[in-house]
Symmetry: C3
Subunit: 127 residues, 3 copies
Amino acid sequence: MPANPTAPATDGGTETLGTIVHVPEGDSTYGKRAFRNVENLLADETLTSDVTVVCNGGGVDHLLRSAPTATSVRTLVERGVDVCACRNSLDSGGYDADELVDGVRVVPTAMGELTKQQASGSAYVRP
Amino acid sequence: MPANPTAPATDGGTETLGTIVHVPEGDSTYGKRAFRNVENLLADETLTSDVTVVCNGGGVDHLLRSAPTATSVRTLVERGVDVCACRNSLDSGGYDADELVDGVRVVPTAMGELTKQQASGSAYVRP
Amino acid sequence: MPANPTAPATDGGTETLGTIVHVPEGDSTYGKRAFRNVENLLADETLTSDVTVVCNGGGVDHLLRSAPTATSVRTLVERGVDVCACRNSLDSGGYDADELVDGVRVVPTAMGELTKQQASGSAYVRP
């Protein structure tokens, strides 16, 4: 078997690719790692990527204005990342949408958003 | 960078999308969370999705008739979800296929099933 | 809802599919499981798959010549698997590329590689 003949060239060219990053865990170390991964992707000069972050389960904790990750989330939103919280998970956690960092978008379900965006061609990454 | 111009409309339209959910961990809290995620996806009125669940590693434990998640699995099967167990993982765990909840399908390898279904257009989610 | 009408036939035919396996955790049990999953995929006679493994975060630890998984990595490389380490993660861990098992490829970012390969049609799996 040859070494991966389907691999794209290292140069991503000028096309903009989509990436959807799934953050389903509430551990704060995990949250920091996930957001740092997104920052690394935005800084990667070998491709241009439009990035969506979808948090569900305990992962919605990272999106609260009171969270240690709030500054990272604010920076991602300002850089054009579409940061999303699952409504079901907010309800389960007893959170209101107005406790979220400004600019965070609420989606009906994380699973639905992840499905729709991949159906539209985005890559999926689960840190 | 504009905010995710490739994002699909919130309305998933009438097209049926495919979602494959990968459950590789045996922790029972994790299993319950994964199956609840699937139930949330089925209840999401913004899309229609055909769902496959693929369990491997410790994840096959959730599919046993003796598991605390057996009732959830039975409900998913009845709702048309294609619930799969990895044969390699059953062998490693010392389980027979007849210990599984009725209707669970045994696949040669989880990795192969996950690859084939994505090649056919299904989205991948790893709770 | 019918049971997954979009599922491909069990026979993967003669087409070669691509699979990209993401290994972001440094726990050695996790690393062994991930590499065993890859071996299972290569042994699955129902499909032919070109496999890429991308390690980042603590996951790059598994690729060091001094790691307990070094022999597994060497075997995968010899079998044609494209095994990749994230440069950012090597830098964060204080590792030099020459500490890696021979044949491991260094990529600018794991996130970018995962995005590019999925954009080229590879399936994603996160053990």
